[in-house]
Amino acid sequence: MRLLAGVLLTALAAGCAADTAGAARAAERFTAALAAGQAEVACGLLARKTAEKLPGPGQSCAAALRELRLRAGGPVTEVSVWGDEAQVRLEDDTLFLRHFGDGWRVVAAGCVPVRDLPYECEVES
């Protein structure tokens, strides 16, 4: 019975525990860097796969990010964290983040919803 209770509590904890503040802070740092024109800093906050996919041939990540002219996004309005994945809604943008060993990083930005399908994002992995 103790084992059963343990597993049920683990299931509930696994279902409920969420670090929304960390994801929100990472999203705010990313949008603040974009708003300040610090594309290098913003690139440093991207997930490795996203940062690698972003630039075209011979282009740097920062140059590619500047070229996209992403919206500043505005203040955070809603944060959803499930496992290692997060969605941060801003007033004018939606970001997707993933938790890595060194903290939250942006996986996709400049995202617009598509009915019944994944978001279409200007930056994604």
Partner: protein, 227 residues
């Protein structure tokens, strides 16, 4: 026989299944972690440690979805066999004995034997509770496990959805989603098939020495006879 050895032998069936259960649970955790880390690699995430995986929603959902179906299977088996019989099956009562049966046959109230549990001599709610305790506990564990599956499953499902750049869903939307019902029904159908197989095959087939089988020489028509 030395007392500890005798105690071990007296409880060997429970202990054997407990050990096999724990080994399988650990094996599932290890295989699950390796599978999860493969998916993490594909999506560009960091691999997780064994300790972290066993507290993840992915593992919890996989464990709970199997538990709920096993407890549902036994709950249904216990309850349905009160009222429904199968001629020739050792898993069934004799035809004509359907129902909760008389106090005399069930050894309750004034028919309780000297070594009957104290609750069998009780009256009213206490007797009712004890008389139905096996079904109630199995049913309760089923509901708790199914509830845990819904919570952990929602978390795991939403994690996948976010990784696919999709909006997460609420609990109400999850428990009406194809994912939840696919996970539930794929387990239920296999459990129900296993019970059906046991009820029907045990009419005609035998396993010498097993109390789950009729004695080898028992006729196919003998019902409720165990070896």
């Amino acid at each position: 026989m030395v007392a500890p050895v005798r105690r071990f032998k007296d409880n060997a069936l429970s202990l054997v299944f407990l050990v096999m259960f724990l080994l399988s649970l650990a094996g599932q955790a290890l295989a699950g972690m390796l599978d999860y880390n493969e998916r993490q690699l594909v999506r560009g995430g960091d691999p997780v440690s064994f300790g972290r995986y066993v507290f993840s929603s992915d593992y919890a959902a996989n464990v709970a979805e199997n538990w709920q179906s096993e407890y549902l299977q036994f709950f249904l088996f216990i309850m349905v066999t009160v009222w429904v019989v199968q001629r020739g099956s050792p898993e069934s009562k004799e035809p004509g004995q359907e129902g909760a049966e008389s106090d005399e046959r069930q050894l309750v109230g004034r028919h309780a034997a000297p070594d009957s549990p104290a609750c069998a001599r009780a009256k009213g709610a206490r007797l009712w509770l004890f008389s139905n305790s096996l079904g109630l506990v199995m049913g309760l564990i089923f509901l708790l496990s199914w509830g845990a599956q819904s919570v952990a499953g929602q978390s795991s499902y939403n994690s996948e959805r976010l990784a696919d750049l999709r909006d997460p869903v609420g609990w109400g939307a999850y428990v009406t989603s194809p994912d939840f019902w696919n996970r539930s029904l794929q387990n239920w159908q296999s459990e129900l098939l296993a019970v059906l197989s046991m009820v029907v095959l045990s009419i005609y087939l035998r396993q010498r020495g097993s109390p789950e089988s009729k004695p080898v020489g028992a006729p196919h028509s003998a019902t409720g006879v165990q070896g």
